[in-house]
Symmetry: C2
Subunit: 331 residues, 2 copies
Amino acid sequence: MDNREISVIGSGSWATALVKILSENDQKVNWWINSQDKYDYIQKYGRNPKYLSSAELNVENLNLILDIKEAIRISEVLVVVIPSAFLHDALKDLPKDIFQGKIVFSSIKGVIPEFDQVPAKYFKKQFDLKYKDLGIIAGPCHAEEIALQRLSYLTVACKTEEHAKFLAEKLECRYVQTTHTDDVLGMEISAVLKNVFAIASGICHGLGYGDNFQSVLVSNAIQEISSFVDVVKPIHRDVKSSGYLGDLLVTCYSQFSRNRTFGTMIGKGYTVRSAMVEMNMVAEGYYAVKSIMVMNEKAGVEMPITEAVYRILYQKITPVVEMRILSKKLT
Amino acid sequence: MDNREISVIGSGSWATALVKILSENDQKVNWWINSQDKYDYIQKYGRNPKYLSSAELNVENLNLILDIKEAIRISEVLVVVIPSAFLHDALKDLPKDIFQGKIVFSSIKGVIPEFDQVPAKYFKKQFDLKYKDLGIIAGPCHAEEIALQRLSYLTVACKTEEHAKFLAEKLECRYVQTTHTDDVLGMEISAVLKNVFAIASGICHGLGYGDNFQSVLVSNAIQEISSFVDVVKPIHRDVKSSGYLGDLLVTCYSQFSRNRTFGTMIGKGYTVRSAMVEMNMVAEGYYAVKSIMVMNEKAGVEMPITEAVYRILYQKITPVVEMRILSKKLT
């Protein structure tokens, strides 16, 4: 048994789900908590007060830490789970060499908006990490179902197979099965795009489109993912695997999907601002679509669904008009 | 405008949906109706009394016919939509040459159980039709949403592009978009398999598996479709297209899917017989899985989901046990 310590940096729903799995697996988890109140509550009740509060955590294996620097320094393996829009703010004042010698897995599923970069690229550029020490944890997995202990599957991606295997083993339990791959960038971009498509899915649902249409939208979405990742990172991959297609499906079809919920509100006529206030959660796809549009200036891939979502969210085109135009382009 | 007449042979939900589209498109439809009661009701009220009765039909363009021979002889183009389990019974006493000179499209989505054959193969063998005159109408499309006039997409497949285009045009309307392809056999087998997977999806839902698991099941299912059709009919195709993946999605995820509903009942503990009686509809996947198992004796493809459904439905293996075993094989 490899006893390297693991720090989890982040305390939202998904971070809490990962902490639950790791701590139940008899793994000591150093968990960065960003407020004293939360710290005290978790210590006392074994639950995160604000996010995924239904999940019971094994407090015996938790070492709560209020100082992010200490939380990073204490472990060799880091799991970073901060919403992409807040990541740079959380990390920007840290010493540039703080991640040296560490293995950093992100499970962020968004683009860092200040740089239009996926997390792996961001860590490489900002903290001079090597790709061999960077990995991701990908779905298909909603935190809410981890709390319910419903059988779920995770994919751990890292160029270094040994690192991927290490974390995959730590995450494997009675209700979680894992696989691993080396396609970090492809899976990360796919995870980012799926949130954009879940917003599209929600918008169409909000507008009253039915199941027949949704199935066509999602089929076109996985083709858009396939085309885009094949240009950005041209290696052999099967996007029909769970880590790509499955993640798209669970995000587009599940009621637990906040991006879909956000889209549904937009489709029903909410403004972006009012939908966000109402939800009190981050819809990663909102930021992602803008960055993907920037990334695609270079890639030049045909992405009609992505463009439709962008126009609705950023150029104030009416959803009903934009989706009618999009529907003519789908096959 | 090509004014060839079209006969629709069948009067279930899907047949009624196709008749609705065609008749609203100013196409004269010769419609075989298998009972005087139904005939009178449709003539008087413009609705099918038993199936999809919410759909209004354009009676002016309907020519109801009680004699199946006459209904076949009167048109050059036939659309056959009889549940696969009843097809041979309906056609077996007809003259062997009755389909000569006709273009026959099936929209059956099942296997003819007496022969373990998909419809195109059945028509070729039993009525000596050529593949060039055989086609199919594939989804992703639930009849119920056609009745609701919700935007839907159909794929028409035929080796002869002209035939495919002809029918695709006739089916295109305000709420239906069409595409065409020449992959008759691949799309037909995919349409058959998706019903088996919808049963699997329902069983797991009935057992309490959640959205995370469903997304993994469906991702593995499209891979199983891909592997099987590539062995049975090895041509280049993209199973991520709507006609394959979309059809699978709408069948696995929609509450309108009778195969999924059937599976859910099995998962909840109904016997096959009681589930069928309760539903009063045919779950095509029940027959399909048996024939696919026969077809796969030759093809030799690894099909863990198909095999699990077969064992549950025909070998009385408890769903909870079989699905636990299956879950270990999924990735």
